[in-house]
């Protein structure tokens, strides 16, 4: 949105939003998104919340997601709690959380039991080996997709921080808490200073 446009509340260009969801509706909606979400639930969360149910405008969704992305922990789990509690308080947060995690946890637990029993069968071992090779490829492609904005912006500082964290965790195999306790304050300080310099 250009900075000189009127506030969204006055312009209201989006379709009208529907009524706030009930607890059961929250549970069911998040369970559906979660079960549809092979390899990441976010796309389905956006589709369900914004397009299908119209519980949020696209901008509201982006803001909520941005908040959940900068908090630690699984982003979609954070999103479910923040989203649910915004409409129905703590109970709403719990309903969305339970919907998101309950059904898939059940499925994964069954898969875990099957793996514990049949994991040594040769054919299954070969299939899993093949799947994990492809899955690693998917993860690597996601990393490059996320790096593209930094490269396009020629964000040298960001790329140096990225490389430093990659080296500390991936190559030196240092413990995560120790690395973050150094890297987070450092990165925030650098970002703060460079922004002030850019503004001055």
């Amino acid at each position: 949105m250009p900075p000189d446009s009127p506030p969204a509340a006055l312009a209201a260009p989006e379709l009208p939003k529907s009524a706030p969801p009930s607890l059961i509706a929250l549970f069911v909606a998040f369970a559906k998104m979660s079960l549809a979400g092979f390899g990441g639930v976010l796309v389905w969360a956006r589709r369900g919340i914004v397009d299908q149910h119209r519980w949020m405008t696209p901008d509201e969704f982006n803001e909520t997601y941005a908040l959940c992305h900068f908090l630690p922990g699984p982003n979609v789990v954070n999103l479910s709690v923040v989203f649910g509690s915004r409409f129905r308080g703590i109970a709403g947060g719990i309903a969305a959380f339970a919907g998101l995690l309950g059904p898939p946890t059940l499925i994964v637990t069954i898969l875990a039991a099957l793996y514990a029993h049949f994991g040594e069968i040769d054919a299954l071992r070969r299939i899993l080996a093949g799947v994990s090779c492809a899955a690693v490829g998917l993860l690597i492609s996601a990393v490059f997709r996320m790096m593209m904005p930094l490269i396009k912006r020629r964000d040298l500082v960001g790329l140096v921080v990225l490389a430093a964290v990659f080296t500390a965790i991936g190559l030196a195999r240092l413990p995560l808490p120790a690395v973050l306790l150094v890297a987070i304050p450092l990165s925030i300080a650098i970002t703060f200073v460079t922004r002030r310099r850019a503004a001055a």
Binding site: F38, P74, T105, A129, C133, L139, S141, A142
Partner: protein, 177 residues
Amino acid sequence: MNSEGNPIWTLAWTFGLMSLFAVGGANAAIPEMHRVAVDVQHWMTDKQFADVFAISQMSPGPNVLIVTLIGYSVAGLAGALVATLAMCVPTAVLAYFVSRLLTRSSHSRWPAIIQAALVPLSIGLMGASGLILALTSDRTWAAALVTAVAAVLAFATRLNPLWLLLAGGCLGFAGVI
């Protein structure tokens, strides 16, 4: 497995702590999970870790459910439940309070600065995940090639990732990898 102390407690505090340090989501915490599960606690082998990652990517739901699989292999059903809740609840509670705080003071510029500072960090962590998983999964040249091709296809096309996983599984079954 660690014989001293209840493994359920070890799971609870390990993943509870990790939950609060998992900047950039579950996939960014994979190096730490690997370090703890394989190197420190000896809960599983490299190969089992790669299998568990594969299963978690193939199943529906958030990627964080890899901890359910790790928990199950340590302590069965109770382990699966405890690991999942330990990884998800602390950060969910934090998210609840921070979101309430921020809706009151949304004009501060600190959230934007912190967010911008964390983006390269979380990409670096995910890159490390990719490296560690590639080292555990890609034991042969053919396997490394499958990973590389999957990465290029996923980067350059809008192909549904499930097809790539399926193709990987077929190649594995055929004994190529």
